[in-house]
């Protein structure tokens, strides 16, 4: 069947419509190192269903691409995959692709592979599934919870990056796909901010800094972030990443300053507030940390790093029940993170709930020492 031909003006109109719809949704942040408006990180991998090699940059050239990071232990992931599978089937003859990236864990043991295969079979998946062995793509994007989604337009720009999967996100995804395909009209007439698109040169320095940081070359990363900032002083990404690295190096005051500058440039970035909050927490400025983390969660209520740190703040302030609640919520979103269960165990112990503490610790250790 012939694909519908779309004139360039119509395509621009459709992209703008997507921007409007997606911006109208709550601000969201699935990724630490990728934000709306930035180039999508390129990756490739083998589709375990067809055996074909998939390259994201090849896909988005002609299609709207929805990348879903999922795990077998995440019920919301499975719900989203089911819906995305149906979406793709419904619009099979249109330029839209869905790719599912499995991030069950660092290593895919035979037991894990068996769960992945079972999930594919149970859901009847017809979309490509890539196993992110070693979590390379996971770390490249800076995924913080599962499921996380990146919607990439035909210019390779991330247009929507929700964390989690609820009704609002589902509606936005479906509506925006329909508008993109020319099957529905956009309802808004104004253009809202849709994420800052940095200068290409700045983007390149930023991506290089990201890679250097991930390989432990922090000082070199900082140098490149300075270059990224000079190439585009309105791009908040380099400042936020600078804040992360300086915190890692123990330079907490400088880290706070970097985050403050990033927030000044763009106060809608969840990652900036969450990073700032974490630095304050590390510096034992608990009340200020709580304030920044709460701000992050106002923007994105399922941003796991902020939930974890808020839980820790609450525990510090002896608000044990709220702390447990925050950590339980984080655990539900990111069940595969042993740190969350560890912290939860410690808070349970403080509350004298030894049985629950032991179970939380057991979950953490079962992740660290999985059965083969």
């Amino acid at each position: 069947m012939r694909l519908p031909s779309i004139s360039i003006f119509r395509r621009v109109e459709l992209v703008l419509a997507i921007i409007i719809i997606m911006a109208a949704a709550n601000a969201s942040a699935a990724f630490k190192y990728t934000a709306v408006g930035m180039d999508a990180h390129d990756f490739s991998g083998e589709d375990i269903i067809s055996g074909n090699s998939i390259s994201i940059s090849d896909l988005y050239r002609d299609n709207l691409v929805i990348v879903v990071f999922w795990a077998t232990w995440s019920p919301r992931s499975l719900a989203q995959l089911r819906d995305m599978n149906e979406l793709k089937a419904k619009y099979a003859d249109y330029p839209i692709e869905v790719v599912a990236i499995n991030v069950d864990g660092q290593k895919t043991t035979p037991a894990v592979r068996s769960k992945i295969d079972r999930a594919i079979e149970d859901l009847g998946l017809q979309i490509p599934v890539i196993i992110d062995e070693g979590l390379e793509i996971f770390y490249k994007y800076g995924v913080v919870a599962v499921p996380s989604t990146a919607v990439i337009d035909t210019a390779g720009i991330v247009r929507y990056d929700p964390c989690g999967y609820g009704m609002m996100i589902q509606d936005v995804l479906v509506d925006s796909v329909k508008v993109f395909l020319g099957l529905a009209e956009s309802k808004q007439t104004h253009i809202f901010a849709a994420g800052y698109q940095p200068q290409k040169k700045s983007s390149r320095y930023y991506n290089l800094a990201l890679r250097l940081n991930q390989t432990g070359m922090h000082d070199r990363a900082l140098e490149n972030l300075e270059l990224a900032h000079q190439a585009d002083t309105l791009f908040p990404g380099p400042l936020a990443l600078r804040g992360e690295i300086l915190r890692f190096q123990g330079k907490l005051e400088a880290s706070q300053e970097a985050f403050a500058r990033a927030a000044e440039l763009d106060s809608s970035l969840t990652t900036t507030w969450a990073g700032w909050g974490r630095t304050l927490l590390r510096n034992q400025q608990i009340e200020q940390a709580r304030e920044k983390l709460s701000r992050a969660l106002e923007l994105e209520e399922t941003y796991t790093p902020a939930l974890i740190d808020l839980g820790l703040c609450q525990a510090h302030l002896d608000s044990i029940e709220p702390a447990i609640e925050s950590l339980l919520q984080a655990a539900e979103l990111n069940h595969g993170n042993p740190m969350i269960h560890y912290y939860l165990g410690q808070v349970y112990r403080r509350a004298g709930r030894e049985g629950e503490a032991a179970q939380a610790f057991l979950r953490a250790l079962s992740i660290i020492y999985p059965e083969d």
Binding site: P110, P338, M339, Y342, G345, Q346, R349, E354, G355, A357, A358, F361, L362, A364, L365, I368, Y369, E371, D372
Partner: protein, 179 residues
Amino acid sequence: MNRSRLTRFFEICLVCIILFAASPLPGDDTGSTSRNIRLEARNLLRAANTSFGEGNSERALAKIDSILALDSLNPDAFFLQAKISLAGGDTASATEILELARHKAPRSTRIKILLARIFIHRGEYEMPLALTEEILKFKPSDGEASFLHGWGLLIKGDTVQAADAFEKILTDKLAGGKK
């Protein structure tokens, strides 16, 4: 004999001894034979693991039989044999294999760990505690053994002790020893 002839005689004797020691006697090639056996066993084990990974348990088991024919004490072969039984849902056979392997290869940590896990999944604690204590006696920092030991304590009902043990492992592993 004069001195130079004596020296010459001893030199010749020394050379003969060296040559004799360096060359293997016919029919007594133990050094290279055991090396060959180890190499062969390793290759067979690799093939067995590949077959198992591909879902071909029968072929894997045939390779394991060949390994054990070469080396009846090979712990890796027993370990894989037990894993194949477990994959087929036969925990009874897996337990039997591992119990036998434990006696044949008493120093194998992997065998004890897998056996401990089987008992833990059955809700039993005595055997896991005994097995993990054996491991920890010689490898006190073995994280997995410590974890399973804690699990055994939890099943036993020593909740606080279990939580203490778990927390210590996690603190050492995740927080660099700092709480």
